[in-house]
């Protein structure tokens, strides 16, 4: 009888993990739609391809060596050879859920971190340079900082973040701020889009081509985030964990709502209009803000934390533009600036963490990811160049990189088969 109950628990926890992993995979679709909506039509095909191909690259590289680096506990084995048969390092023995479910859940997080970069470098980066970076980021850069955080390893033998009071439930810092750090390094070496910043210091808006896509993408991300935060409870088959999962879902939702309202109201106050793109970024900022600790706040606290994220993201977007850091979708603001905020909000509701621990963790993640990314982007820039030519940028990267338009006109029957 006890064995039956254990098996049921195992099956339920595994099932839950897999469903949450699928929801996080769905976030990849959300990112693709959001970014496709916020770039110009002549660059849409390329950004869609970038989003779906980085997902595939992340899954493959993490399978090859990333997972082993992050969770192998120092025993390094390629292609999931050891990890699968021996269960999950660090989990209780016997395992309470399928080892492959753990891999599946973790791999979609890697893809999320990597996809943050694609929006920031949109409309002017070479596709294959981006994918080359993705290989290194998902195989090495992210798994290393992941091993120091969720993997529990010490940072090059110097200190262990868990011991210092660092806590990041679902990855405000480990995933979101990390992705934004890599994005920032790329954007600094890439430069702004042509025509974005005038010689006189003016900032020219470059409107996105598809607001329905951007909005749908945000809704999809919102829904997928239930898996992102909810799955990070790591279990559901007990009263305690089921309660935790419910609280996490509720708070995740509340934070997004708070973030959206705050950003929308702030945009109305500052710009006189209800800016849809700011509202969308606000919802995402709310989600990022709660991601570091969605299980301990009350629903009201979660809403307020999200609201703080929504306010911060509006100011971050404006400030980055003033600094001439061109980020077409606001990725660095949403995931980087608010990712840091998310980490710093944790000690307010979670006694197990401390501000110093959060700061040391944030600094560790940022210095590692930003530093190594800068090196990799720098090498790519020197070896193959990371920016498309001026002509290609004017014509749109859809044609130069993909050879097809996202919204073709004048092609029909007479445009082919001559």
């Amino acid at each position: 009888m006890e064995q039956n109950i254990f098996e049921l628990q195992y099956a339920l926890d595994t099932f839950y993990f897999l469903i949450c992993g699928a929801l996080v995979m769905w976030m990849a679709a959300g990112f693709a739609m959001l970014e496709a909506g916020l770039v110009r039509s002549k660059n849409t095909t390329e950004i869609l391809l970038k989003n779906i191909s980085l997902y595939a690259v992340a899954c493959t590289m993490y399978m090859i060596c990333g997972y082993a680096i992050m969770y192998g506990g120092g025993d390094f084995s390629l292609f999931l050879n050891d990890i699968e048969s021996n269960g999950v390092t660090g989990a209780e023995e016997p395992a309470t859920y399928a080892p492959s479910a753990d891999f599946f859940f973790q791999v979609v997080f890697v893809a999320t971190a990597m996809s943050i970069v694609s929006g920031a470098v949109a409309e002017r980066m070479k596709l294959w340079a981006f994918l080359a970076f993705a290989v290194v980021m998902t195989a090495f850069i992210y798994p290393m900082e992941g091993s120091w955080t969720w993997g529990g390893q010490s940072v090059f033998g110097m200190y262990t973040l868990g011991d210092l009071g660092f806590s990041d439930f679902a990855g405000s810092g480990i995933v979101h701020m990390a992705g934004a750090s890599a994005a920032l390094a790329g954007v600094l070496l890439l430069g702004a889009r042509k025509g974005k910043y005038g010689a006189d210091g003016s900032i020219k808006p470059i409107p996105g081509a598809n607001m329905p896509m951007a909005t749908l993408g945000t809704f999809v991300l919102w829904m997928g985030w239930f898996g992102f935060n909810g799955g990070s409870v790591l279990a559901t088959a007990s009263v305690d964990s089921a309660n935790a999962v419910a609280v996490v879902f509720m708070n995740t939702n509340a934070a997004a709502a708070g973030g959206l309202i705050a950003a929308m109201v702030l945009a109305k106050v500052m710009f006189g209009k209800a800016d849809l793109t700011m509202a969308l970024n606000g919802a995402l900022a709310g989600l990022v803000a709660i991601t570091a600790e969605p299980s301990t706040p009350t629903a009201l606290q979660a809403t307020l934390f999200g609201g703080l994220g929504g306010v911060l993201v509006v100011f971050a977007i404006i400030t980055l533009d003033k600094l001439k850091i061109d980020d077409p979708v606001g990725a660095i603001s949403v995931h980087g600036v608010v990712g840091l905020l998310g980490l710093l909000l944790v000690p307010f509701t979670n006694d197990g963490s401390s501000f110093s621990g959060q700061l040391i963790g944030a600094a560790t993640i940022f210095v590692w990811v930003f530093g190594t990314s800068l090196i990799v982007w720098g090498i790519l820039k020197a070896v193959m160049g990371i920016r498309v030519s001026e002509q290609e940028e004017y014509e749109g990267v859809d044609m130069s990189e993909c050879g097809m338009e996202a919204y073709p006109e004048f092609v029909g029957a007479s445009g082919s088969g001559r």
């Binding site: 025509g195 004017y394 044609m399 050879g403 097809m404 006109e409 004048f410 445009g415 082919s416 001559r418």
Partner: protein, 112 residues
């Protein structure tokens, strides 16, 4: 009065618009168009099948000017839109028989 129609590269729109402002032109109409001149098309592949891309995106600018301002306007447009590379576009000048301002009913050069 003349109607000046210019076909220019899309990214040159802002430059042309500024140049026209500078010489005192107060109104223009802009359309997104596709076209080609002596530039040959190029072929692309869609799912393995070849097709010819004849038409390239351009911007059509139409501006009505008094006869005396024609040369100035043409110069402003060509200087602003020129890149020296193939596909810069063309300027067409045609006669404008009548112009009426809808709001006030003014006609002729007063309506320009």
């Amino acid at each position: 009065m003349k109607l000046i129609t210019a076909i220019v590269k899309p990214f040159k729109l802002d430059d042309v618009r500024e140049a026209l402002s500078e010489i005192g032109v107060q109104g223009i109409t802009v359309t997104e168009v596709k076209g080609f001149g002596r530039q040959k098309g190029h072929t692309e592949l869609y799912r393995g099948a070849e097709y010819v891309v004849d038409f390239l995106p351009k911007i059509k600018i139409e501006v009505a000017v008094a006869s005396g301002a024609v040369d100035q306007t043409i110069e402003a447009i060509t200087n602003a839109a020129n890149t020296g590379k193939i596909g810069d576009g063309k300027v067409f000048v045609s006669d404008l028989e009548q112009v009426i301002r809808i709001r006030t009913g003014e006609t002729g050069e007063d309506a320009i």
